[in-house]
């Protein structure tokens, strides 16, 4: 970690929100100037406020701004950047973008374009894994026709899962439990895949009930040296989207952990991988693991790995992209303790997870006491735009063991207050209170098993009604008061506190 001068002078961050802020922080710690880009909807966004430089991209719609390669390369040239960090999402796994960055003479902070390409096809990735001796989920090694599908499913047995070859984000996926449903599922998956990825080809895999999604972080330098940094348990999912992650996985033991890690490194080596990447595995209830796919970028959930390994993955990405050697080997990696991440989305848990953009009226974020980290992309008063991903922050708790991490996460969640928009904080409280989760005994079906509602003690309901009544009383009084306004109690409070603050001078 001894750095003799920053590896780059100036980096462009081709992203927004909390991940752009995360990269800005890494740059600042390394003495690198951070350059943000922003759409018209993001002029007041945190990643613009915190950056050393910022360049406008215009239209809020992603394809005209954050997904517009030309505009981003123009911004990099205009701000005289030496490298581009893509974050995750947007252009992070766009091989064409990576190639154009390199062809512009800039450094792409990520793997070579060829690696992104190779792993972008889910079936090609399966083939590569299989060639490297890494177990893959039984099923097709390339996309299938309707005829081939019937034969294959007959061989691997129901239930099966149809997936888009170019897939991601749960789109073009169908579980099929019997031969009757196969045709309709094939056509549905195919057309959804076509619409989402402009590629309607699908393939088929064996489907496992109650499976675990466990992924392995790898880090490779440009000289062929690589390590794995333990795994992340990502089985708490809702509609194939991760909700909460932790490391280590309470489900696997050290022997499987090491085998999975070695598989991940072997596969990465085989495809000439560089920089940070993640191998996703499916682990069945017999603890057999199968390669699923590779993510050729930083993961949303990278902080849990940082917490237990002490390695700053974003700084490592930057350093490795500059050509630095890794400088440590597998035997130098000693994960310590346990870490959990809760993804805080602007979504209404009580209302079928409807998106909840809008103005954040009041925001108290946890960040105190031992073992708590909150990677946020918003601030009090910020209006969360309607155009982008609903992730507003990632709350991470570390403990010496899993029980301590859970205790800290619960404590931190109680210190997290957002008003103005709805968030998934209530869902997190439910998960952290679920006996199956607390026991470490859960799989991808956990969310479905959550009791929809918990009740506080009788007394707590009284207090909730008391708080409501005080609010209504103040509203009513504010309305009938002399300086009437439609804003009610909060307005009255503002007047009060203003008067007080003037009086204090």
């Amino acid at each position: 970690m001894k750095i003799t001068g920053p590896p780059f002078k100036r980096i462009l961050i081709a992203n927004r929100g909390e991940i752009a802020v995360r990269v800005i922080r890494a740059c600042r710690e390394m003495g690198i100037e951070s350059c943000s880009v922003y759409s018209d909807a993001d002029r007041r966004a945190l990643h613009v406020l915190m950056a050393d430089r910022a360049w406008p991209l215009g239209d809020p719609v992603s394809r005209n701004s954050y997904l517009n390669i030309e505009k981003i390369l123009d911004a990099a040239r205009a701000m005289d950047c030496e490298a581009i960090h893509p974050g995750y999402g947007f252009l992070a796994e766009n091989a064409g973008f990576a190639r154009q960055v390199e062809e512009s003479g800039l450094t792409f902070i990520g793997p070579p374009a060829a690696c992104i390409e190779a792993m972008g096809s889910k079936t090609a990735a399966r083939q590569a894994a299989s060639d490297a001796g890494v177990p893959v989920v039984p099923g097709a090694m390339s996309h299938v026709s309707e005829d081939e599908l019937e034969k294959l499913t007959g061989r691997i047995g129901y239930p099966v899962l149809l997936k888009a070859t170019a897939g991601g984000g749960g789109k073009g996926m169908r579980i099929v439990r019997d031969p009757q449903g196969l045709d309709a599922a094939f056509r549905g998956a195919s057309s959804e895949a076509g619409a989402a990825f402009a590629d309607s080809s699908v393939y088929v895999e064996k489907y496992f009930e109650n499976a675990h999604h466990i992924e392995v972080q790898v880090l490779f330098d440009n000289h062929g040296h690589g390590v794995y940094l333990g795994e992340r348990e990502c089985s708490v999912q809702r509609r194939y989207q991760k909700v909460l992650e932790e490391t280590p996985s309470p489900f696997i033991d050290d022997a499987i952990r090491a085998t999975m890690g070695e598989c991940a490194v072997r596969l990465a080596s085989a495809v000439g991988y560089r920089n940070a990447g993640t191998m996703e595995f499916l682990v069945d209830d017999q603890r057999n693991f199968y390669f699923l796919e590779m993510n050729t970028r930083l993961q949303v959930e990278h902080p849990v790995t940082e917490m237990v390994t002490s390695i700053d993955l974003v700084k490592e990405q930057i350093r490795l992209a500059a050509g630095d050697a890794l400088g440590y080997g597998q035997h130098d990696i000693h994960p310590r303790g346990h870490a959990i991440e809760c993804r805080i989305y602007a979504e209404d848990v009580e209302n079928d997870f409807l998106p909840s953009p809008g103005r954040i009226v009041r925001l108290d974020e946890p960040g105190g006491g031992p073992g708590i980290r909150n990677d946020s992309g918003v601030y009090e008063g910020f209006t969360v735009p309607i155009y982008y991903d609903p992730l507003i922050s990632k709350l991470v708790a570390w403990g010496r063991d899993r029980a301590e991490a859970i205790g800290r996460m619960r404590r931190a969640l109680r210190e997290y207050h957002v008003t103005g928009i709805k968030t998934t904080i209530p869902l997190m409280h439910m998960i952290l209170a679920h006996p199956g989760f607390v026991a470490g005994n859960y799989s991808t079906s956990l969310i479905d098993r959550l009791t929809a509602r918990r009740r506080g003690g009788e007394h707590v309901e009284d207090v909730a009604l008391a708080a409501l009544a005080v609010q209504l009383l103040e509203n009513r009084r504010a309305k009938s008061g002399p300086a009437s306004g439609s804003h009610g109690a909060a307005s009255a409070w503002k007047r009060f506190s203003r008067a007080e603050s003037l009086r204090k001078r």
Partner: protein, 173 residues
């Protein structure tokens, strides 16, 4: 002062009085005395005896949310008799479909005059990469579409008006 509140389908009448920071709440035959201080725009510090509670209130009339410890409560308040709450529950008059979230209108699926079955989709709104199909909760005739594809709508905006089947017939020429 008295307030009528809906909580999980339960109608509760709150009766609250105060003197300085001392409050008295009566509801459903219970009497609760407590002290309360406003901490900021959304936060109240409530004490019942020595028990201390930090409550965060979000007001988006007629909806009110209270966050307390690890729990969230959602209330609907009937203000002035005919709040939006009344409208949403519907009667026999025209039904308004409102946007449940701010977003962008992706497509309008039906045209004025169309006959609709219960549950038919009318408008698709997108926010934060998620598409949401707004459906009619009752059969009827689509009387009016108030939005166009590409437009941005705020939460609660009326996007369409449906006339119940019976009324539609009498309205029809």
């Amino acid at each position: 002062m008295k307030f009528d509140v809906q909580y999980k389908g339960r109608a509760i009448r709150l009766d609250i009085t105060s003197e300085d920071s001392l409050y008295r709440l009566e509801y459903e035959g219970k009497k609760i005395g407590f002290r309360c201080e406003r901490i900021d725009e959304s936060c109240l510090s409530i004490m019942i005896g020595e028990k201390s509670y930090e409550a965060h209130v979000h007001a988006a009339p007629p909806a009110y949310g209270v966050q307390l410890q690890d729990l969230s409560y959602d209330f609907e308040v009937m203000e002035g008799g005919t709040g939006a709450a009344g409208v949403r529950r519907g009667g026999v008059g025209p039904h308004r479909i409102t946007a449940p979230m701010p977003g962008k209108v992706v497509s309008v699926l039906r045209a004025p005059g169309d006959a609709l079955k219960e549950g038919d989709g009318v408008v698709v709104i997108e926010a934060m990469k998620m598409q949401n199909e707004l459906r009619t909760p009752r059969a009827g005739t689509l009387k009016e579409i108030r939005v166009a594809a590409g437009e941005t709508v705020e939460s609660g905006a009326v996007v369409a008006i449906i006339v119940p089947a019976a009324q539609a017939k009498t309205d029809a020429v």
